[in-house]
C-alpha cells in the first residue's frame, strides 16, 4: 500500500486550480522530491496530505486514510517540517522538542532529546538556550529533531533545507536517506536541484499546479536536471481558461 496517494486531485482557490489533476503514489522506502517555482502548488500538495486542505475533486490517502475525513488519524502517521520552523521562542531547543513530542504522546528524557538535536546538527551548548536567540537554520534543526522523534512512516518536508548551512544540509540529506532506507515514505518540496539529485529518489517537476515531469534521479545528471527544469519553467504559460479543468 502506498503511504502517500493522490488520484486525479484538483484543488481550486476560486477559479484558480492550485493543484491540477495530480496523480502521485509514494510507497514505503520511497523518496519523492517535488521541484517547482513559487506558486507551483508544492505547499498546497503538502497541505492536502496534511489534511489542512481538502481536494476540490479527486482523492487523497495517507496510509490508506483520507485526511479530509479524519485529519488527526492521517497526521498520526506523519512527521512534518515546514519551510520556516516556528517554535516557542521563550523555550529552549530541548524544551521545544520535549513539548512537541508530548503533543504527540511521546515522552523523552533530556539525554534522548539532546541526542536528537545533535543528530539534527544542533550543537549541544545551544540546545538549552532559549530558541528566541536561534538563527533560522538552528530553528530548522530543532524542527528536524522534532521530526526525527516522531519515527513516522511518512515524512512531509516543505523546503526543509531552507536556511540550513551546506554542512547541515548535507548531514540532513544523509539522515533522510537512512530514514528512507528504514522504510519511511518521504515527500519533499525544494528549490534545490542539487540536493534533489543528491537524495537519489524520484523527482517531480510541478508547474502551475500540474505535475509536468516525473523522472528518476539516477537517469540524468545534475546539469540535465537543471536544463529540464529550466525548460519547463520557461515554457509558455497556459492561460487561466486552459488551467481550469
Amino acid at each position: 500500500m502506498s503511504m502517500f496517494e493522490a488520484k486525479s486531485v484538483v484543488r481550486r482557490f476560486g477559479e484558480i486550480a492550485a493543484v491540477d489533476n495530480l496523480d502521485l503514489r509514494i510507497g514505503p522506502g520511497q523518496l519523492f522530491c517535488l521541484l517547482g517555482a513559487n506558486g507551483a502548488g508544492k505547499t498546497t500538495t503538502i497541505n492536502l496530505f496534511l489534511g489542512f486542505l481538502t481536494p476540490s475533486t479527486g482523492e487523497i490517502k495517507v496510509g490508506g486514510i483520507d485526511p479530509a475525513a479524519d485529519p488527526r488519524a492521517a497526521r498520526k502517521q506523519l512527521a512534518y517540517i515546514p519551510e520556516n520552523v516556528a517554535i516557542y521562542p521563550q523555550l529552549s531547543g530541548v524544551e521545544n522538542v520535549d513539548l512537541f513530542c508530548r503533543m504527540g504522546g511521546t515522552q523523552l528524557n533530556d539525554e534522548e532529546i539532546v541526542a536528537l538535536l545533535t543528530r539534527a546538527g544542533l550543537a549541544t551548548d545551544h540546545a538549552k538556550r532559549p530558541v528566541g536567540g536561534y538563527s533560522k537554520g538552528m530553528r530548522q534543526k530543532v524542527g528536524l529533531a522534532i521530526a526525527y522523534a516522531r519515527r513516522s512512516k511518512g515524512l512531509l518536508l516543505d523546503e526543509p533545507l531552507s536556511g540550513l548551512d551546506p554542512q547541515a544540509a548535507n548531514e540532513f540529506c544523509t539522515e533522510l536517506k537512512s530514514i528512507c532506507d528504514s522504510g519511511a515514505a518521504v515527500l519533499m518540496t525544494t528549490h534545490d536541484l542539487f540536493r534533489a539529485k543528491q537524495l537519489g529518489g524520484t523527482i517531480g517537476i510541478m508547474r502551475a499546479g500540474r505535475l509536468v515531469e516525473t523522472l528518476r534521479s539516477q537517469d540524468l545528471d545534475a546539469h540535465e536536471l537543471e536544463r529540464l527544469y529550466l525548460h519547463h519553467m520557461s515554457a509558455p504559460r497556459k492561460d487561466a481558461s486552459e488551467r481550469r479543468s
Binding site: 489542512f52 481538502t54 479530509a68 488527526r72 512534518y80 520552523v85 516556528a86 516557542y88 523555550l91 503533543m103
Partner: protein, 476 residues
C-alpha cells in the same frame, strides 16, 4: 493535552519579562486599590458606627419626655454594608447613607457621596470591582488576542496539530490560561481585602454564601471574556483584526451600552423627580386626617365615636389620651400614602431594572456589574430593602410612642405629660438585617441567565472554531 497547552501558555508568559512586568503592575495596582478601598470603607463604617452610637445615646439621654415629642425628635437608621461592599461600592455613591426617621413623615436617605463630591461625582469611586470588570478583561484582550493569532500566523499551531494535539486542546488551553490568570487576580483582590480588614481589626470574612456567589459569578464572567478573546482570535484570523474588534467591543460593552441601556430604561419607565415625588405625597396626605389639627373633620368623627363608646361628653374624660390615638390615625393614613407612592416608585424602579437586565443579556459586562453589586449588597434592591426595613422600624417606633401617649396615663390635651427615660431606653434600636443572598439571585435572574448563555456560546464558538482549524479552514 489541554493541560499541556495550558502549562505551555503559562510558561511562555512567565518567561516573557515585559508581560511579567505588565501583570506585576496590574497585581500591584489591584492590591493598592483594594487595600485603600477596604481601609476607606472601614473608616467610613467606623464613623457611621460612632454616629449611630451617638444618636442612640442622645435618644436615651433625653431622659423623661413626651412620647409624641420623641416622635418628632426622631431616630436615625444608618445603611450598613457587608465585607464585600469593600470590593464593590456599587450604587452607594448615589444613595444616601443615613435615614432620619420621625413621626408623620417618611424621609429619604441623606448624605450621599455624589452630592458631597459635587462635579467630581462624574467620576465614580475607584474600587476593585471596577478593575475586575474593566481592566482585567482589557489585559486578557491584549494577552489573548495576540497569542493564538501569533501561533497561527507563524505556523506553530500547524506544527503542533501535526504532532497530534487537537485544536480543541490548544484553544481550550489558551482559554484556561487566560481564565487562570483572571482567577488569580480575583483571589488576590479578595485576599487583599480580607487581610486589610483583619489588620485593621474589623470583620474580614464575608458570608460563605455571598463569597461563593461573588467568586462564581466573576469566574463565569472571566470564562466568557477568556472564551470571547480566544474565539475572536480564531474567527478573525489576524492578531490585528482580533485586537481591534475586541477593543471596539470592550469600549462598547464597558462605556457605551450601559449608558444607552440606562437612558432607554429611563425613557421607557420614567421616574418622578424627588420634588415631584414629595409634592405628590404631600398632596395625597392633605386629603387625610391631620393629627395636629383639632378641627380636622375625620378626627372629629372619630372623637365623637370615642365619646359615644365611652359615654362621656368631653375628651378629657376619656380613659385614654385621644391625642395619641389621633396621632396614630394620622400616622396610619400617612403609611398608606407612602405605601402607595413608594410602591409605584419601587414598581417603576423594578421595571427599569428588569429592562436593564434584559439588555444585559446582550452584554456580559453589564451582567457582571449588576451581579457583583447584588452579591456585594450595594445595589438598588439592597437599598430598597434597607428603606423598607427602616420604614417598618419607624412605623413600629412611632406606633409604640403613640400608644404610650394614648395609654401611658396621660389625659387628652396634656402635652406636658412625660414618659420615663426607661420607656425610651427599652425601645429597640434599628438593626439592619441584610437580605439573604437568594434576593440577589431572584432580582438578577436575567443577568445569571445571560452570563450562562454567553459562557455556553463561547464554548460552542471555540469548539466549532477548533473543528474548522483542524480541517485547515481557519488555519491557513
Amino acid at each position: 493535552m489541554t493541560r499541556l497547552a495550558l502549562s505551555l501558555e503559562l510558561k511562555s508568559w512567565i518567561r516573557d519579562r515585559r508581560l511579567l512586568a505588565l501583570i506585576g503592575a496590574l497585581v500591584t495596582t489591584l492590591i493598592v486599590i483594594t487595600a485603600w478601598a477596604t481601609a476607606s470603607d472601614i473608616g467610613q463604617r467606623e464613623a457611621q458606627q460612632a454616629a449611630a452610637e451617638q444618636a442612640r445615646s442622645q435618644w436615651e439621654g433625653r431622659g423623661a419626655a413626651n412620647p409624641h415629642g420623641m416622635a418628632h425628635f426622631g431616630d436615625f437608621a444608618f445603611r450598613p454594608t457587608g465585607p464585600l461592599a469593600r470590593l464593590d461600592y456599587g450604587v452607594q455613591a448615589r444613595l444616601g447613607k443615613v435615614l432620619y426617621m420621625e413621626g408623620h413623615r417618611q424621609n429619604v436617605p441623606l448624605h450621599d457621596d455624589a452630592t458631597r463630591a459635587g462635579p467630581l461625582a462624574r467620576f465614580s469611586r475607584l474600587d476593585a470591582a471596577f478593575l475586575l470588570q474593566v481592566f482585567v478583561p482589557l489585559m486578557l484582550v491584549f494577552l489573548g488576542a495576540t497569542g493564538l493569532a501569533a501561533d497561527r500566523q507563524s505556523g506553530r499551531l500547524k506544527l503542533a496539530l501535526v504532532q497530534g494535539i487537537s485544536a480543541r486542546a490548544v484553544l481550550f488551553g489558551h482559554v484556561l490560561a487566560l481564565w487562570t490568570l483572571a482567577l488569580l487576580l480575583l483571589i488576590v483582590v479578595i485576599a487583599t481585602s480580607m487581610i486589610t480588614a483583619a489588620t485593621l481589626g474589623t470583620d474580614a470574612i464575608p458570608s460563605p454564601g455571598r463569597l461563593a456567589a461573588f467568586s462564581f459569578f466573576y469566574g463565569l464572567f472571566f470564562w466568557v471574556v477568556s472564551g470571547g478573546v480566544v474565539a475572536a482570535s480564531v474567527w478573525l484570523r489576524s492578531a490585528r483584526a482580533a485586537l481591534l474588534a475586541l477593543l471596539v467591543i470592550w469600549v462598547a460593552a464597558t462605556a457605551l451600552l450601559p449608558r444607552v441601556s440606562s437612558g432607554l430604561a429611563d425613557a421607557v419607565h420614567p421616574l418622578p423627580s424627588q420634588d415631584a415625588f414629595s409634592a405628590a405625597m404631600q398632596a395625597s396626605r392633605a386629603d387625610g386626617p391631620d393629627g395636629h389639627n383639632p378641627e380636622d373633620a375625620e378626627l372629629d368623627r372619630l372623637r365623637q365615636a370615642m365619646l359615644d363608646e365611652h359615654e362621656v361628653k368631653n375628651v378629657e374624660d376619656l380613659p385614654f389620651n385621644f391625642d395619641g390615638l389621633a396621632m396614630q390615625v394620622d400616622e396610619e393614613f400617612g403609611n398608606q400614602v407612602w405605601d402607595e407612592h413608594f410602591g409605584e416608585l419601587r414598581s417603576t424602579l423594578y421595571s427599569q431594572l428588569n429592562l436593564v437586565g434584559l439588555i444585559a443579556l446582550l452584554n456580559p459586562f453589564q451582567s457582571i456589574d449588576h451581579l457583583s453589586m447584588a452579591v456585594a449588597g450595594t445595589d438598588l434592591a439592597h437599598d430598597m430593602a434597607f428603606q423598607q426595613q427602616a420604614e417598618r422600624y419607624r412605623r413600629g417606633l412611632v406606633e409604640a410612642l403613640n400608644r404610650e401617649h394614648a395609654y401611658g396615663g396621660s389625659k387628652t390635651g396634656d402635652w406636658s405629660w412625660e414618659a420615663g427615660s426607661e420607656f425610651f431606653a427599652a425601645l429597640p434600636q434599628f438593626q439592619y438585617a441584610a437580605p439573604h443572598v437568594e434576593l440577589s439571585f431572584r432580582s438578577r435572574a436575567l443577568e445569571i441567565l445571560g452570563l450562562g448563555l454567553w459562557a455556553l456560546l463561547m464554548m460552542m464558538m471555540i469548539r466549532h472554531g477548533a473543528d474548522r482549524i483542524e480541517t485547515g479552514t481557519l488555519l491557513c
